[in-house]
Subunit: 206 residues, 2 copies
């Protein structure tokens, strides 16, 4: 959590947090009397839940309350923060965005992996792996990704990692490429496994 | 700055910071009696300076002191943090890495730009623009980058942005692609200019 984020929570009348963002950090940082809402406990399905969160932010702010939405990671890196910002903008509610530390960069760092190294890597690509290659809604050209020369970070890819690895190999990446799989980053349960693209791909058939 | 970073500085005997990292934050957070070293004032050239920083970290730590190296942004995203970590490892000095907020994601967020948006963008590529396309030491395949479908963040690219834009267009990207140029992000001097890839490319000939 950033110093700026903690200060914002401490100044809020209402704090909305969820299980992705550390709810206990919100509890620690909030001032006495502030209202804390655990939006992961809203009785709605996934899509509707985002609408409900937007609505809660806007309705509390419309009452003149100082509202803080605490998110895990960075709100604008696969964090849906822009949807909440848009809801505020549409309702005429002024807002500011406080950047956070995205897991896309912090998880490798905590695992001792540098995504860039002077003279070796000049680029990093961060891709959401929530859709498998070939999925009609996928916006990723994996054949192009396979030709990139820098580090590749897949997030939300637990399920699709083997299929993605297989596709990258099919498009020309070497099966010998080193892969680190990081689970539960930054928690006491953090686990780092080292493998190769080829082994990861064959896990899909296991 | 993160809460964890601030806490680390507060517990240090020796803090090394530079003009890239906010030296005044180190001054604020350090405890009474801690030694603060502004490594940007070392009387050396650029390359030697990194060696000298590594040496200072190792020599102070070897004396049993608790050393903190405070860097701007994230130490492992084009931050040369890994070189300092390697120097510690080689000297047998235990260390931990505290991730920070990289300007590659925070500068766009502070400018109101989301690098990812649900259903529109599933990927972000961060590239160091310190070398122009075609430079013998460049590790970037700009022809491949031009075919990527997500957001592209160029850092350290003030000088080479027009040449990079021209190369991306030559490789097939539309001159109509929207570009935001962000200067002095997060400071009171922050300035955001909106343009297109085509206009940026032609700036190179101006």
């Amino acid at each position: 959590m950033t110093v700026a984020g903690k200060r914002a929570v401490a100044e809020a009348d209402v704090v909305l947090a969820d299980h992705l963002g550390p709810f206990h950090l919100a509890e620690e940082a909030a001032r006495e009397g502030a209202e804390l809402i655990d939006v992961s406990k809203l009785p709605y399905g996934k899509q509707v839940s985002q609408d409900k969160i937007n609505e809660l932010i806007v309705s509390h702010a419309s009452q003149g309350k100082h509202v803080v939405r605490l998110k895990g990671g960075d709100p604008f890196i696969f964090g849906r923060g822009f949807e909440e910002a848009e809801a505020c903008a549409q309702a005429g509610i002024p807002y500011t965005v406080i950047p956070g530390v995205t897991s896309a960069t912090s998880a490798p760092a905590l695992a001792g992996l540098s995504l860039t190294h002077r003279g070796l890597v000049h680029e990093v690509t961060i891709i959401s792996g929530h859709l498998p290659p070939g999925h009609p809604k996928s916006l990723v050209r994996w054949d192009v990704v396979a030709q990139m020369r820098g580090s590749l970070v897949l997030i939300m890819a637990v399920k699709n990692a083997p299929a993605i690895a297989a596709e990258l190999i099919r498009c020309g990446r070497s099966p010998q490429v080193a892969v680190a799989a990081i689970e539960s980053a930054s928690t006491p349960q953090q686990r780092v496994s080292h493998t190769t693209l080829g082994t990861l791909a064959s896990d899909g058939g296991a």
